[in-house]
Structure formats: structure tokens, C-alpha cells
């Protein structure tokens, strides 16, 4: 079972849709511990991505991801722009020239993207950031891939780990980003970045299973 460049586009369209549907939800989460812009920024960024992709017929997943990354960097702003932008740029480098990807390819791309996010944001697990959803999700996907599981199984495990990671941010005290200014008052709220990361990974699972 492989993921084609067409499947990749389907996923990106689904990302735009879920971020549009969850715009207000992400704004609410961000208003509690940040500055209430995450939902609007992600929605704007992925709408721009769709616009960009509708004008291109790239069949190379690496090139598609590069377009996504550059578009997010120039349209999202905030911290999410450079972080998600770097994620797609680094994942795209891993997939350069590939019209399709296997499960191990997707693991490698996700890993490269997440490394990029860590390098750019200098956050670690438990800092109450998007990494709290991304890292366990990638680990779960990687383990399933090593165990020779089916794509469907692997994606289910990935989404479940992302969900748990996202929910586990609720009691955490933020150490990065604007929420960190609140100190102890940031505890008790789910991190909006971890939430958008979960939504994006869940969209992949919904599209590719």
C-alpha cells in the first residue's frame, strides 16, 4: 500500500477543511493561554496552500511539501508559520523526487519534519507545544512500521498517540511560546499547537486508511 501524490493532495485539502471547521475551537484554546490567533492563522495559511496547489501540477511529493512549507511560512505568521513551514520543508527534502511514498517513507518524512520543528522552536517533550502531539505520534507510527503493520494499523496508532499527547498537554505548565508567560496559570488548558498537530495527523489517517 503506497500513498500517491494524489493522496497527498487529498490530505492537504482535508487539512484545510479541518482547520477551517476548527478555526473557532483553536481560537478559543489559544485565547485561554495565548493570544487568540492560532485558529485564524492556520485557516488563512492552509487556504493559501490550497490556492497555491490549485495552480500547480507537481507530481513530486517533495515539491508539493516544499510549496506547502514556503506558503505557510509567508502566510501564517506567529510561531506556527515558521514551525509548520519548517516541518513541511524538511519533510519535503526527505521526499524529493518521489511521486509516491510507502509507510517507511512517511515515517522518515515525519521524523525529518519534527526534527526541523525542534531545531526551529528549541522545545522538548513536555513543554506544552505541538511537539507533545507530534513526537508520540511519530514514535507510534515508526514502531508500527518496524513491526511490519499495515498502513491502516499504523495510521490508527499514530492518530491515537497524537490524541493522547494532545490531551496530555492539559495539566502541563507551558515552557515555550506565549503560554509560558502565564507560568502555573497555563495548566488546565489544552495546547492549541498540539491540537492543530493532532487535527493534521488525524486528517492523514482519515484520508489514507
Amino acid at each position: 500500500m503506497v500513498i500517491s501524490h494524489q493522496d497527498t493532495l487529498t490530505w492537504l485539502i482535508a487539512c484545510a477543511k479541518t482547520l477551517e471547521e476548527n478555526r473557532e475551537y483553536l481560537i478559543e484554546l489559544d485565547a485561554a493561554i495565548g493570544d487568540a490567533d492560532h485558529g485564524a492563522n492556520m485557516d488563512r495559511g492552509f487556504k493559501a496552500v490550497l490556492q497555491k496547489l490549485s495552480n500547480s501540477n507537481d507530481q513530486d511529493i517533495g515539491a508539493i511539501f516544499k510549496t506547502v512549507g514556503m506558503t505557510l511560512v509567508s502566510t501564517v505568521g506567529g510561531a506556527a508559520g515558521p514551525l509548520y513551514g519548517t516541518f513541511f520543508l524538511q519533510a519535503g527534502i526527505k521526499l524529493a523526487g518521489q511521486p509516491e511514498m510507502t509507510l517507511p517513507d512517511w515515517v522518515a518524512a515525519l521524523e525529518a519534519g519534527i526534527d526541523g520543528v525542534q531545531m526551529r522552536g528549541k522545545a522538548q517533550t513536555g513543554d506544552k507545544t505541538m511537539l507533545d502531539a507530534l513526537l508520540p505520534a511519530m514514535e507510534a507510527l515508526k514502531q508500527k512500521s518496524l513491526d511490519g503493520a499495515s498502513l491502516e494499523d499504523a495510521l490508527t496508532a499514530c492518530t491515537e498517540a497524537a490524541r493522547q499527547g494532545m490531551e496530555a498537554t492539559i495539566p502541563l505548565v507551558a515552557r515555550k511560546g506565549r503560554a509560558s508567560y502565564l507560568g502555573e496559570r497555563s495548566a488546565g488548558h489544552q495546547d492549541p499547537g498540539a491540537t492543530s498537530s493532532f487535527l493534521i495527523l488525524k486528517a492523514a489517517s482519515d484520508c489514507w486508511k
Binding site: I27, A31, G34, D35, A36, D37, A40, N41, R44, V73, S74, T75, V76, G77, G78, A79, A80, G81, P82, L83, G85, R120, G121, V173, A174, R175, K176, G177, R178, S180, Y181, L182, G183, R185
Partner: protein, 333 residues
């Protein structure tokens, strides 16, 4: 939401159109990507100063573009960092051949976007230095946070560095002045009301009628503590004490005292606050050598204020007194 706007998505664009029409002698505005730049760009043979940040803090930063201050300002969406493409294009437009200084407020988004922009500018052979401003004493423990936020000292740094650039100082000299301002400046703010981001449509946080938020940043993000409303004198005392003790400012230090409105607090109240802040400074033995009072780094329509102290030396006094000619700050000829 009750605001003097047309469509929420047009707020920043229409504001910039207004700035361009109001100040054609001083600035021009480039759209897509958005940046405000000096009408006579590039200024050959001088270091160029580029700053930027989310919109909603007006007049910062666009109102500080002009002779003696910034060369370009990159406005993001409301309360959202601008993007690297804006900063890169702005830097290319205003680079006069002596390099570009990025003045960056310490927020995760601003820092990351300016970092990416500096990388891109270097790839285009533009010499870039970045200085991060982090003067907000409300953020106490920087080991486990994103560090102190950049607030009031940013305005002072832009003025003082702008004057140094006009004198023909080198990129590293202007950057050193920026670091000196950051090292000697401290701020703290408070809010009486929340504010409403246009595309959100409701207040960023709830603040009951009889309460206030101490240690607020400039993005409507909640501060560190909330308490019952107090008198102006008591509020100013809390802010000034925290600021003075932080550096600390010592007896007979010469200082610049900057009392800033968050946007919704009128000058009548701001001067009440300035009066008390000035008295407290003098009671601590500080010499208030220069001051600035008004709405310069705001948070939309938030009611509230901040105080900034900057320890001065002869160099900074002379740079402060140097002429400046921007939409928001003007003196000298």
C-alpha cells in the same frame, strides 16, 4: 464587537492605505508583502533599521518610520508576527549598503520569523544583525519560559538606534547601542480592560469591572496576577517598585521615564500616572532627565498603562535629543 472598521480581513490593509495617504512626505507602503518604508529609501551609506511585529500596537512600528528612527517596519496581522518574506523585501528595499539591523521583540513568533528572514537576507548578501528586546520584568523566571517579552524599551531603542544610524555609525556600533538600551531598560504594564482582536470579535479575556491584570503583555495575553482595582497612585507604585528593583536603578542614576498608554487610557489619566511615577523615581533618588508620555506601544483599545525606565548616559541623552521626523515622534530640525 463595536469597532470603526469595514471588513475584519481588511483592517491591516486599510490602515496601511491610510498611513500612505496621510504621510506621503515621510513614508511609502508596499503591499504583498506588506511593509512601510521611508519615502527616500534607500538611504545610501547609512545603516538601515528594520523592525516589525503584529499590528494592533500602533503607532509602533509603522509610525516610527522616518528620519532619525526606522527605515522600514513590517506589520503582521493583528497580534501576529509578520513573515520572513516581508522582512526580506523590506531589508532589500532599505539597505543603503552599510547593513541592516533587525530590532526584534522577544516573542517566539517574532524571533523565529526574523531568524528565518536573517538567513534569507544573508543568502542575498545583505549584512544583517539582529538584536532582541526583552525588557518586561513581569516575566520572572526566564529559565523555563520563552524569556522576558519585548515591550516599552523597543520604542526607545528604535529612536536611539535611529539617531546613531543617522550619525553614520556602523552596523556593529548601532547594534551595540541597541543592546545597551535593552540592558538598561526595564518595563512593566497593567490592564484595566481586555481588548478585542477584530477577527476574533470578542474580548481576549474577561476582566470583571472591579478587577485589573498586573504584568500584562501587549497582546491582550493575560498577565501574571489579577487583583481588585486600586487607585492610580497604588498601581503606579506597584509597577515602579518592580521596575526599579529589577535592574536595579540606583540613587543619582539619570533615567528616561516613559509612561505609555495601552490604547484605551486617555492622557488625562496617563498624566496622573506620570505624576506619581515621576515622584516615585525622585523619591528613589533617580534623576528624571528625559521623559515620554503617550500611547506609543499599544494593545488595540485596551485600557491600561506601562512604565519603562531607561538608565541614561551622555551618549544616550544626545541620541535621544537628536532630531526625529516620523508620523508618531517628531522633534528637532
Amino acid at each position: 464587537m463595536k469597532k470603526l472598521i469595514n471588513k475584519t480581513e481588511d483592517v491591516v490593509k486599510e490602515e496601511l492605505e491610510g498611513i500612505a495617504l496621510a504621510h506621503p512626505d515621510l513614508v511609502k507602503v508596499h503591499f504583498e508583502p506588506h511593509y512601510v518604508y521611508r519615502a527616500n529609501s534607500p538611504v545610501k551609506g547609512k545603516v538601515a533599521l528594520v523592525s516589525g511585529g503584529g499590528s494592533g500596537h500602533e503607532p509602533m512600528h509603522g509610525g516610527f518610520v522616518g528620519y532619525g528612527m526606522l527605515h522600514a517596519a513590517c506589520p503582521g496581522a493583528v497580534f501576529t508576527s509578520p513573515t520572513p518574506d516581508q522582512m526580506l523585501e523590506a531589508a532589500k528595499t532599505v539597505d543603503g549598503g552599510k547593513g541592516v539591523l533587525f530590532i526584534v521583540k522577544n516573542y517566539s513568533g517574532d524571533v523565529m520569523n526574523f531568524e528565518m528572514a536573517a538567513d534569507l537576507a544573508k543568502m542575498e548578501d545583505i549584512e544583517v544583525e539582529s538584536v532582541i528586546i526583552d525588557d518586561d520584568v513581569a516575566v520572572q523566571d526566564s529559565l523555563y519560559t520563552a524569556g522576558r517579552r519585548g515591550v516599552g524599551s523597543t520604542v526607545l531603542a528604535e529612536k536611539l538606534c535611529g539617531a546613531a544610524a543617522e550619525q553614520g555609525q556602523s552596523l556593529s556600533q548601532v547594534a551595540d547601542i541597541c543592546r545597551k538600551v535593552n540592558a538598561n531598560g526595564r518595563s512593566m504594564g497593567m490592564a484595566l480592560t481586555s481588548c478585542t482582536v477584530p477577527h476574533v470579535g470578542k474580548p481576549t479575556f474577561d476582566l470583571p469591572e472591579d478587577e485589573m491584570e498586573i504584568g500584562i503583555g501587549i497582546h491582550g495575553e493575560p498577565g501574571r496576577t489579577r487583583m481588585k482595582l486600586k487607585s492610580a497612585d497604588e498601581i503606579v507604585e506597584m509597577l515602579m517598585t518592580a521596575v526599579i528593583q529589577d535592574l536595579p536603578y540606583k540613587k543619582s542614576d539619570r533615567v528616561l521615564l516613559f509612561v505609555n498608554s495601552m490604547g484605551g487610557t486617555p492622557l488625562i489619566e496617563l498624566y496622573i500616572a506620570y505624576r506619581k511615577a515621576h515622584q516615585i523615581a525622585e523619591n528613589h533618588g533617580l534623576v528624571v532627565a528625559r521623559n515620554l508620555v503617550g500611547p506609543y506601544i499599544t494593545s488595540l483599545e485596551m485600557a491600561g498603562m506601562s512604565v519603562t525606565l531607561l538608565k541614561l548616559d551622555d551618549e544616550l541623552v544626545s541620541l535621544w535629543d537628536a532630531p526625529v521626523h516620523t508620523p508618531a515622534l517628531r522633534w528637532g530640525t
